[in-house]
Symmetry: C2
Subunit: 146 residues, 2 copies
DNA sequence: CTATATTCCGAGTGGAATAGTAGGGAATAT
DNA sequence: ATATTCCCTACTATTCCACTCGGAATATAG
């Protein structure tokens, strides 16, 4: 019951794009090297993120990827759901391929799984890539001050 | 990023034991048949739950399992963590076998995963098996009334 | 004492998912 | 032209999941 590397790598990479958002595009290779991820693997995530219109791409030298929107308009939830599908703590509830447990109307636990889904979603839908940028600056300034 | 059947089956089975808590022991076979689970598989969960001292067992005819404590003193969180290990939305944070991402002190996403872990835990640690019993009675009465 | 009902225990297994590799093709800035 | 970048599809090794199987230990009823 855990995020796969897809979600984790994806969020980290999107943060990288957020950092460079004003400057322009960033190449996959740079990000992969910087984060020490396999570039061929990260490529698959970028393909999904592009399909979901969270990033844009440009080929050729000086090409690369860029966020499709302002970092403050992209939530962590959008990124995670794009890469991992809808949050679905238990297979009974929340996703597309719901397992139908026959007595779901009587099931005493269904409500628990729904509550958990909601609580996860409310965390990830509240945080934007822009928030992460702010957080970094805060830490950066803190480090400078001390 | 989902509960395995272990957690789901486990909570359902523990609820069954909660229903029968006053009456005494319940055999694994009865629960497995009632819930339509594989009994040999459910057995493995009961072994864990027993090891974690959430249930007691008694062998021989008229034997079976029973909650080790009052249903109101067992949270869903205890059951889930016993069966699935600690809540760990991302492998960076929360569990035993933490993946060390080298720059974890600078990592902007770490805090997100911690928040998610906390929010899941606060849901499941708040609900007891006794609460589920109450919920069932409420639904039962509602059904009777209509 | 014996037959039976139950828990206990360890090992094995098929399929799905994860976490990648590999390799070539297409666009484009210089 | 050519180097650089994205684009696309297929393949693979490993791990995890959801079981299955066989039998031993133990308690109860008759």
């Amino acid at each position: 019951m855990r995020l796969s590397t897809k979600g984790r790598y994806g969020v980290m990479a999107m943060y990288r794009l957020a950092v460079n958002y004003e400057a322009g595009t960033t190449s996959l290779k740079d990000i992969a090297e910087d984060l020490d991820y396999s570039d061929a693997y990260l490529e698959q995530m970028f393909a999904i993120l592009k399909r979901e219109r969270l990033i844009t791409s440009h080929r050729g030298p000086k090409g690369g990827y860029r966020l499709a929107k302002n970092p403050y308009d992209i939530t962590i939830g959008e990124v995670i759901r794009a890469l991992e599908g809808p949050i679905e703590f238990s297979s009974c509830v929340g996703g597309t391929e719901n397992y139908d447990c026959k007595r779901s109307s009587l099931c005493v636990t269904k409500e628990i799984w729904e509550k958990i889904n909601d609580s996860i979603n409310s965390v990830i839908d509240y945080i934007t890539l822009g928030d992460l940028l702010d957080k970094y600056n805060k830490n950066f300034n803190k480090a400078k001050r001390s």
